[in-house]
Symmetry: C2
Subunit: 200 residues, 2 copies
C-alpha cells in the first residue's frame, strides 16, 4: 500500500517499524495519525525522544536511571540503610518501587550473566556492587534477578561472591512464575515475592 | 510503576500514550526500548516525525498527500484520463493503489459528510471536485467512500451533484468480503450481495 506514498511518510513508517511490537499496519496507522494531528504533537514527541536520550544517564552509585549525578532513590535520606536489592534493569527497579514493599536501596546490574551471549561479570556492574558492600556497610542483599535460567545463574554467582563478605543474602520468593520476567509481573505478586524472600 | 522515573522518561511516555492504540504498558515498553537503543535511532525517529509534518501537504489538484505541488499520481502521464475515483482520505487512495486495479486519477474528499459532527460539503473538497469535472473533461466517477452510513450519505450527495454534469457515476460493489462466510455476514450486506449478483 506504500507505492505513491511521499518519501517522508515512508521514512517515518520505517522508523516506527523499528520499535518493538510495531508492525507494518500499526506503523502506517501511527504515521497517518501524526499526519492528521497538530504539528505541536509531532514536535512534542520528537523533542521528548531526543531530550530523554540526552538527559537520562546511569546513577553513579546504583546505576538506576537518573538525570542527575545520583538517582532519586540514592538521594532520598528516608530509605533504609544497609540493605540492597539487586535487579537486572532499571525497569525492574521501577516495578519493585511500584509495589511499595521495599524501602531499602538498589543496585542495577545492567544485564544478566549469559555465557551463551558472551556476557560475563565484567560486562555487568558486579565490581561496583561488591565495592558498595564494604563502603556502605551493607548487611543484607536481596537478589531480584529474573526467575529464568540466566537470572538464577546470576543469582547463584552473586551468592557465591557475596557470602564471603559476610552479608545476609536472600532471593525473592518464587511467587513469580518460573520463566516469567519482573517487568510483566503484577504489583501484588511482585510485592509478595519480596515479602517472602528466603535466606540462601 | 512510574514513581522514581526521571521526568524526561515520563514526558516521553505521556507523548507516546497520546498515539492511538498505545496504552500505559505499551508506552512504557516503547520508551524503555528507545532508552536502550542507540541515540541515532531516537534522533532519526524524531527527525522523521518533524520532517514529515513539515514537508507533507495536499496535492493542489486531487488533495492526495505529496511533498510537491502536484502528487505523484497527478504528475504521472501514464494514468488513464477522464476517470476519477473519489475517496475519503489519502489512506483510502493508497489502499486502492495497493490493489493495482485502478489506473485513473483520484480526488480526495478529506472527510465525509456528517450532520452529526457538523461537517457539510463546504468542509470537504467537493467544490474543487465539481470544478475538475469540466476542467479535466471527466467522463466517469467512481464513488469509493466507506460503506457505512456517512460514506453512503456522502456518495448519495455526490451522485446528486455529479449527475447534472453528465458524468457516469458508479459506486464500489457491496458484498461479502473474500474469505468471508455467509453465516457471519450481516443481513444488509447479504441482501446487497444478492441484489448485486453478477451473471456468470
Amino acid at each position: 500500500m506504500l507505492s505513491g506514498t511521499p518519501p517522508s511518510i515512508k521514512r517515518l513508517i520505517e522508523e516506527l517499524k523499528r520499535l518493538p511490537g510495531i508492525g507494518d499496519r500499526n506503523a502506517e496507522r501511527l504515521a497517518f495519525h501524526v499526519l492528521g494531528a497538530p504539528a505541536e504533537r509531532a514536535e512534542a514527541l520528537a523533542r521528548a525522544l531526543v531530550m530523554m536520550k540526552k538527559t537520562v544517564r546511569d546513577c553513579r552509585r546504583c546505576y538506576n536511571l537518573t538525570e542527575e549525578d545520583l538517582c532519586g532513590i540514592c538521594r532520598d535520606p528516608n530509605r533504609t540503610e544497609g540493605i540492597l536489592c539487586i535487579v537486572q534493569t532499571a525497569r525492574d527497579l521501577l516495578a519493585i518501587e511500584g509495589t511499595g514493599q521495599y524501602k531499602g536501596r538498589y543496585h542495577v546490574l545492567k544485564g544478566v550473566l549469559s555465557p551463551m551471549r558472551g556476557i560475563g561479570p565484567e560486562d555487568l556492574t558486579v565490581q561496583a556492587l561488591l565495592a558498595r558492600i564494604g563502603e556502605e556497610g551493607i548487611k543484607e542483599v536481596i537478589l531480584a534477578t529474573n526467575l529464568n535460567v540466566e537470572g538464577e545463574a546470576t543469582a547463584s554467582y552473586l551468592l557465591a561472591a557475596l557470602k564471603p563478605l559476610g552479608v545476609k543474602v536472600s532471593r525473592i520468593a518464587r511467587g513469580i512464575p518460573i520463566g516469567g520476567s519482573l517487568e510483566h509481573a503484577d504489583a501484588v505478586t511482585l510485592g509478595l515475592a519480596i515479602d517472602g524472600r528466603k535466606e540462601l
